[in-house]
């Protein structure tokens, strides 16, 4: 029972959605399933939020390393939760949009969330620079091709490439960086992308079939668990 019902559920739901693709009266199923997913995800978030609170409380009570920052995390979490769920300061009252402009909730987003998020993201620029100095080595033929292609793209993506090869005569203009750039993108890159995409498609189909047919059932768990 513990394993059979989940298996049947997976099997029936999965194949119904596959069949629905071919049947106009059923094709809204996929859309409705997505709503189901959203609803289930909210319940799961209760578990996730609870986990976050629990972990940080443990950290504080046991005075683990950096426990002071756990307080900051909890305060931030509950602060946003309260102004969000109770719609504090929302001009539309309890029926207003939760993230309507002008609410404290929106302000937190604009003044904390956006700058921190964008800055975290831009740290990547620095990491890339250090990786290109320390990690990107032409260790073998494959890596060399990767690096050359990357350099052409980086050059071609800015005016730098145009300036660098502007002297090349028109008859040989295929060797100008912007043209090389387009050529690389639209031929070898396209071929590689396509092979990857077709491969992924087959991989997903085979994987999905294994799951739906119950050949792969690690998500179902073990009896009596």
């Amino acid at each position: 029972m513990n394993r059979t019902l989940p298996f049947l559920l997976t099997f029936i739901v999965g194949f119904t959605i596959v069949i629905a693709t071919f049947s106009p009266p059923l094709d809204r199923l996929a859309v409705d399933t997505a709503v189901f997913f959203s609803i289930i995800a909210v319940f799961a978030m209760i578990l996730g939020g609870g986990n976050l609170v629990k972990i940080n409380l443990v950290k504080i009570t046991r005075r683990q390393r950096d426990w002071q920052f756990a307080i900051v995390t909890l305060v931030g979490f509950f602060f946003v939760l309260i102004i969000g769920l109770f719609k504090v300061g929302n001009p539309g009252g309890v029926t207003g949009q939760v993230d309507a402009p002008g609410t404290p909730f929106f302000d937190v987003y604009t003044y904390v969330f956006v700058p921190v998020g964008a800055t975290m993201y831009s740290l990547l620029a620095f990491f890339i620079a250090s990786a290109s100095y320390r990690a990107f080595r032409a260790k073998n033929r494959e890596a060399t091709i990767l690096l050359i292609a990357a350099s052409i793209i980086m050059l071609g993506a800015t005016p730098f490439g145009t300036m660098l090869t502007a002297w090349i005569p028109d008859s040989l203009d295929i060797f100008e960086v912007p043209n090389l750039h387009f050529f690389l993108m639209s031929s070898p890159n396209l071929a590689g992308q396509r092979a990857i995409m077709i491969g992924i498609a087959l991989g997903v189909i085979s994987y999905s079939l294994r799951v739906l047919l119950g050949v792969e059932r690690s998500h179902i768990g073990k009896d009596g668990g």
Binding site: V72, E142, H219, G225
Partner: protein
């Protein structure tokens, strides 16, 4: 220099995060902790109102007259509520039901989606003549070369992914050609990613120098 308190908070947080580049420090940890807590709370609220209130509640109890209630959504809510059985260890296994539902739906949906867009259509689009002419009817060397490369690359790339044959001999050679094409693809991805990340950094710098310090026109 800006007089807007929001810009100031943003700028200080930006500098706090950037300080991590020098080394891990309390200023960074503070920004990080704020971010983790605030973002978890933020997404919780957004998901709650969007999914539970708007989709579920107003789906079952429509706010406007004349709209048919979607009672079947209650099944979704019941499945969701079953997730909470995890809080009681002895019946926690019931949470496998909603999980099984999600796994089945995802597998079924993606199977078709990938089959059509990633699989079939890409195969169809590779079927082009290896001899190309310009609009004027002359031989077009660039297009011809391009099509030939796309064909060879796609073909050998697929060979690389074969699982049921050892990469040896002619087959292995073809797989090797395939991996070269994959490497160009990854190189292109690398180049474009550098471009993207640099743009974000430019955006932050622009914020600091223009919006905060007012040094740029």
């Amino acid at each position: 220099m800006s007089l807007d308190i929001g810009v100031w908070i943003g700028a200080l947080l930006t500098l706090g995060i950037f300080s991590f580049l020098y080394r891990d420090n309390p200023f960074y940890k503070l920004c990080e902790s704020i971010f983790v807590g605030v973002s978890a709370g933020y997404w919780f609220c957004v998901f709650f109102f969007d999914n539970m209130v708007r989709k579920f509640y107003f789906g079952v109890f429509p706010s406007e007259a004349g709209i048919e209630p979607k009672y079947f959504l209650i099944v979704g809510a019941v499945l969701g509520a079953l997730m909470l059985t995890r809080l009681i260890p002895s019946i926690g296994w019931i949470s496998r039901w909603p999980l099984s539902f999600i796994v089945g739906a995802t597998a079924g949906l993606y199977m078709m989606l990938f089959f059509v867009s990633n699989g079939l259509n890409q195969v169809a689009d590779t079927m082009l003549p290896l001899y190309r002419e310009t609009a004027g009817g002359d031989f077009d060397p660039a297009e011809t070369l391009g099509t030939i490369l796309v064909f060879i690359g796609t073909f050998t790339g697929l060979i690389y992914f074969f699982f049921s044959k050892e990469h040896k001999g002619l087959f292995g050679g073809a797989a090797r050609v395939g991996i070269f094409f994959l490497m160009v693809t990854f190189g292109a991805a690398f180049g474009y990613t550098v471009m993207s990340r640099m743009s974000l950094l430019i955006g932050r710098m622009d914020f600091l120098f223009r919006d905060w310090l007012g040094l740029l026109g």
